[in-house]
Structures are given as structure tokens and as C-alpha cells.
């Protein structure tokens, strides 16, 4: 799931700027989850959001490769 939802965005762009992986973009003045496959689930967007609009989930949306299962 990664970044799960943005509810109550005030359009400040803090999340867009603070995302290291360019997952979030602005559309018509609001932040949208544009590239969820690239989310590294670091929560920086949530931590920078001034109005707690961002909800996270721990699941990755694409297959995960690890050294051993």
C-alpha cells in the first residue's frame, strides 16, 4: 500500500518536497499520490505534513526482493 491516502490537503506542497522518491505531485492545487510504486515507506511526507492529512500503510505495492525469505 505504501502511502495510502491524502485527506484534507491544504496544498502547502511540504509532502511533495520532502518525499525523497518523488512519489507525490500537485494536481489542481492538491497533493496526489502519483507514483506509489516508488514509495519507500519512510513516512517523511506524513511527518512534514502540517495538518496530518497523510495515512500510511506498511505494504509495498510491487513485489519485494529480499536476500532470503
Amino acid at each position: 500500500m505504501t502511502i495510502k491516502s491524502i485527506n484534507g490537503c491544504i496544498g502547502c506542497e511540504e509532502c511533495v518536497k520532502s518525499c525523497p522518491c518523488d512519489v507525490i505531485r500537485m494536481e489542481r492545487g492538491k497533493a496526489v499520490i502519483a507514483y506509489p510504486a516508488d514509495c519507500q515507506i519512510c513516512h517523511l511526507c506524513r511527518m512534514y505534513c502540517p495538518v496530518d492529512a497523510i495515512e500510511m500503510a506498511p505494504e509495498k505495492s510491487i513485489p519485494v526482493i529480499v536476500p532470503w525469505g
Binding site: T2, S5, N7, D22, C42, P58, I65
Partner: protein, 573 residues
């Protein structure tokens, strides 16, 4: 794919349920070869030019100090970052800052350097180890003044000195090329994420503060770090070192990609300082245990680390054995025991490879030719994790040294680059060269069809991340992996497609990871011994007779990758 606002991004499960795995992956941009449904008018892309004395690339701890010190030394200075100051790379994650305070330490700096060298089995460069200790207190005091130790998020304190000095800052600009003219650095070029625009920056001196990198592994905040600086520098003739070392951070088998859930304490904590605490951590011990005994590894995160001996495995000096990991021995200090338990989170089976493709801090990157962070390209400097200073060696030694080392080296490089720029003529970059670079930057957008960068990255991960390739190494397996990587290098990297500026970034990151993988395999094949975080099943012993040496990599005139030894006690020739 764009999810509407106030809506929920699709989960993998719903994708799979709705459309089947293949269609789901294609929807997420994971298709392999496909038509390029380009979303922008490539012919309308404009080029913006800038000029400065010193260009700092990267907005982490090293970039901050490089810019501040270059400015304060009188150079016109500019920062460019593909992310945001203090909010990209590993900087938001590092919360422990090593300070050698003579007023409180019982030993001398010489004692400290000697302890690091004993733990690192000689792999550290003692000049950089000493420099870390000598300058750490001054850097910590400046960070204190800026409010760094008062809060969780680094952007605000980092912006204070930048705003006070009015240092120009270009954020969300991806640099893809370093420009060399007449044998010295002349600038850099890249593109904006938020506009259909390429960017060219003419500079007398460039400092790479581009951080480390990995293979976009799961469970660690490395998704934006792909060794961009090293690869750009390699392509203009710089020497690269330390590619055979590993960083042994682990994650949990449940939701392994959730780096916050595994290491969240590192993001949430307020930074703090710590004194001398030398360890021998973050090697491949847990990888060896998993390889030999099967999985899951007993005593995963949240549990005591296993203490029973298994035969063989990485050599640990007696002095550093059986030391309980400090309260949090993760990167940058406290916050999770090495190779194991992220703090404060529920236990679960352990999975290694959270930081796959990354080496121990500051062991991997540009080869310094002196003690001032200079590379072998005149005018090109590097600092922090982009500089292969071997400050701590090929194993994690001093707790908190990663963040402190970036601050110290950033400041040294900033002053050195300003001094160089003060004596250098303004470089001239011919228009034809700029046009050639812009064409290279935009090439993935112009391809009518090509390989998706996300698919190529996942293919690379499948080759490089398994435990039996780069962690528990064998010559035959690395040769096999190298054959795959050469295929990606020759047949996929030149055919990467991008539909927009986001994918253009992924295309260049993918290319960089492929070249980094080749370097890591070639260096690991060449090093026919085991030492620190480099462990070979077919050469399990230390070989002091032949291998008291680092491995430097450079591109030869015919484009091939060349490797050479550099003795531990020498600077490059």
C-alpha cells in the same frame, strides 16, 4: 498512474485480485519492453543555464557544510539537489552525531584512530579518521546554533544558514552529467522534475555530496540513492573505490519494504551526540548465519542476537568480539542493533539486505588524492558518503561517525573547492558540448519504445540482492551475476524509456545502479581474500601479504572498467 486526491492508492492485493499479476505490474509501470507513451512534448523542452564558482551537488549533511564553508570562504556558491535540503538520502535517518570532546574523553585522538584501525583491520585511512575526530566538535557546535539538535526534521535547521547567506538552492533538479573541459571540471547538467526543462550549470569547482547508493533495496531509506555522483564522476575519468564492501543492515520478513516500521525510531528521534565508541559492526555475520543454518535466522529483530558459534564465517578481531551492540548501533548512532533488531518494534523473522548495494559509510565513492577531499579530476571534490575516504574503514567502527563525517568532510571540501575556484579561470563549455549532453539527457523520452526502468531495476535486484551473490561471495556465482549485469549494461541501459520527468529520473538511476553493480562484482572478484564486510567462501581468510590495499576503479580510454590496487598507506599515484 495518478491516484485522485482524497482517494486511496491501489494495494498490490487489489491489483492482483482485479487484474492478475502481470496486468497489475504493467499498470504500475513495471512492463519490460513496451511502447513509450510519452506524456510531454520533448521538442518543447527548454534549457536553463546557471553559473557559479562552487557548485555543491546534494542536499544532505555534507552538502550543507560544503555550501556554507565555500560561501564563507568567499566563493559564489550554489546547491543543487534532486530532493530537498535535509530531507533526502540518509540525512533524515541519521540521528547520532559523533563528537570527540577532549574535555570528556579519557583517551587521545591517537588512541581513537588506533582503535578504529584495529577494528577495521587496516582498511581505514587514518588521515580521514583523525580529521573526523579533530573537527567533529566544531561542526556539532555550528549545528547546535542552527537548531539541529532541537527537533526531528532536518529541513528547517538546515535552511537557517542557507537563508542567512542567501545561497542559491535548486531543489528537485536531477543532475545526470558532470562536465569536464580542458582536463578540469567545468560544471554539471541535468533536468528538473517539476518542469519540462534541462539545467546546465557552469562552475569552476564541483563538490559531490551525492551520498551513497544501493539497488533501491527494501527496508532502508535508500530509494533515492543510486551512486549518481560516483557514476557521473567515473564517466569523466574519476577513480572510484570501496565497491567490494557491504553494509549489513537487516529488516523484518513481515513487510520488509516498510523502512519506517523497521527503523522508524531513526526518523522520529531528535538528533543527539555521542563520544568514542568503537565497534566492529554491520558486516555480513547475520548473512553468513542465514546462509549456513537456514531461515529464518534465530533471534530476529526484537530478540537477543544468537550467541552460539557457527564454524567459519567473517573474521572478527578478539578485542571486538562479544560486545553487546550498544543501545542502538545503527547508522549514525543509536536506533537499532547492527544486523538485527530495530528498536521498539515487534519481533519477527529477520531478513538481511535492507541496504543491499550500499557499502559501509564513507568506504565507497570517489578516491581522494589528498586530505582535502580532492579527486583526481582538477576542481572536482567529494564529501560524505560520496567520497571513498575510508574514514571508518570497510566495517562500521565509530558509532555516529556517518553523520559527523559528512559534516566534517563537507566543510573541508567546501573550503578546498573555494580556494581552487579562487585561482581558476571561468570555464568555457562549447555550445556543441551542451547540445550533446542535452540530447543524452532527453534520449529516454525520445525513444518510441524501450525497457521500463522499474522492470530493469527489479531484474537487477533479482540478480544482486540474493544472499549468495554479494554477501556470501563465490567467484563462480559472481561471474554468473556479472554476465547478467553486462547484458543489462549493454542491451538494456541504452534502451531505457521514459514517459515523463519522473521516469527520466528512474532511467538514469537505473543506469547508475547497473554500473555500480558491475563495479561491485568486479572489485569483489578481484579481492581474493575476506576482510571486514567483504566475505568470500572461496577465499575465507585474511591475506595480509597481498591485500593490505584498497581497490580503485576507473574507466580506460576504450571505455572498459579497469581495477588497480592502492596500498593502505599510500595516496593514489
Amino acid at each position: 498512474m495518478t491516484a485522485p486526491n482524497d482517494a486511496t492508492a491501489p494495494t498490490r492485493r487489489t491489483f492482483l485480485a482485479l487484474s492478475g499479476a502481470t496486468a497489475g505490474l504493467a499498470s504500475l509501470g513495471m512492463a519490460a519492453w513496451a511502447q513509450n507513451n510519452v506524456e510531454i512534448d520533448v521538442d518543447a523542452v527548454t534549457n536553463t543555464t546557471h553559473a557559479t564558482d562552487v557548485l555543491v551537488i546534494g542536499g544532505g549533511m555534507a552538502g550543507l557544510f560544503a555550501a556554507v564553508k565555500a560561501h564563507d570562504a568567499g566563493a559564489a556558491t550554489m546547491i543543487v539537489s534532486k530532493g530537498r535540503l535535509g530531507s533526502s538520502g540518509l540525512t533524515p535517518f541519521g540521528k547520532g552525531f559523533f563528537v570527540f570532546d577532549p574535555a570528556t574523553e579519557t583517551g587521545t585522538i591517537g588512541d581513537f584512530v588506533a582503535a578504529v584501525s584495529r577494528s577495521a583491520l587496516g582498511t581505514n585511512n587514518p588521515v580521514y579518521t583523525r580529521q573526523l575526530a579533530e573537527h567533529s566538535l566544531d561542526r556539532a557546535r555550528e549545528l547546535t546554533d542552527w537548531g539541529f539538535f532541537d527537533q526531528t526534521l532536518a529541513n528547517r535547521p538546515f535552511m537557517r544558514p542557507i537563508t542567512e547567506r542567501a545561497i542559491p538552492l535548486l531543489e528537485r533538479v536531477v543532475i545526470t552529467h558532470l562536465i569536464k573541459e580542458d582536463g578540469r571540471i567545468a560544471g554539471a547538467a541535468g533536468f528538473r522534475l517539476d518542469a519540462e526543462e534541462t539545467v546546465t550549470i557552469r562552475a569552476k569547482s564541483v563538490i559531490l555530496c551525492t551520498g551513497a547508493g544501493g539497488f533501491k533495496p527494501n527496508g532502508f531509506p535508500l530509494g533515492d540513492l543510486t551512486h549518481d555522483g560516483s557514476i557521473m564522476a567515473y564517466q569523466i575519468g574519476a577513480k572510484i573505490t570501496g565497491k567490494e564492501w557491504n553494509d549489513g543492515h537487516s529488516t523484518r520478513s513481515t513487510n520488509p519494504a516498510a523502512c519506517y516500521d523497521g527503523w522508524g525510531d531513526m526518523f522520529e528521534r531528535i538528533p543527539s551526540t555521542n563520544g568514542v565508541e568503537v565497534h566492529h559492526d554491520l558486516g555480513v555475520d547475520i548473512n553468513y548465519r542465514a546462509y549456513m543454518t537456514g531461515n529464518p535466522v534465530a533471534g530476529g529483530p526484537g530478540a537477543e542476537q544468537p550467541t552460539d558459534e557457527i564454524a567459519g564465517g567473517p573474521f572478527v578481531p578478539e578485542e571486538f568480539k562479544n560486545r553487546a551492540p550498544p543501545e542502538g548501533g545503527g547508522p549514525g548512532g543509536k536506533g537499532g542493533a547492527p544486523g538485527g533488531p530495530p528498536p521498539g518494534f515487534s519481533p519477527g523473522a529477520n531478513v538481511g539486505g535492507a541496504s543491499a548495494g550500499m557499502a559501509i559509510h564513507k568506504s565507497e565513492g570517489l578516491v581522494p588524492v589528498d586530505d582535502r577531499c580532492a579527486s583526481n579530476i582538477p576542481g572536482l571534490y567529494a564529501a560524505g558518503d560520496a567520497l571513498g575516504s575510508h574514514m571508518a574503514g570497510g566495517i562500521y567502527t565509530q558509532i555516529g561517525s556517518s553523520l559527523a563525517g559528512s559534516a566534517v568532510q563537507g566543510a573541508i571540501a567546501g573550503e578546498a573547492a573555494a580556494e581552487y575556484a579562487g585561482l581558476a579561470d571561468t570555464p568555457v563549455i562549447p555550445d556543441a558540448r551542451i547540445a550533446e549532453i542535452v540530447a543524452e539527457i532527453l534520449a529516454p523520452l525520445r525513444r518510441e519504445a524501450g525497457y521500463g526502468p522499474a522492470w530493469v531495476t527489479q531484474t537487477l535486484q533479482g540478480i544482486m540482492i540474493p544472499n549468495f551473490v554479494l554477501y556470501i561471495k563465490k567467484g563462480t556465482m559472481m561471474q554468473a551475476a556479472l554476465a547478467y549485469v553486462e547484458e543489462l549494461r549493454d542491451h538494456h541501459a541504452p534502451m531505457l524509456r521514459a514517459a515523463n520527468m519522473h521516469e527520466l529520473r528512474l532511467a538514469f538511476e537505473t543506469r547508475n545502479m547497473i554500473l555500480s553493480a558491475e563495479m561491485k562484482l568486479r572489485a569483489s572478484l578481484m579481492r581474493t581474500e575476506s576482510r571486514c564486510s567483504h566475505y568470500r567462501l572461496d577465499y575465507p581468510e585474511l591475506d595480509d601479504e597481498n591485500w593490505r590495499a584498497w581497490i580503485n576503479i576507473h574507466q580506460s580510454a576504450d571505455g572498459s572498467m579497469q581495477l588497480e590496487k592502492q596500498p593502505f598507506d599510500a595516496w593514489p599515484i
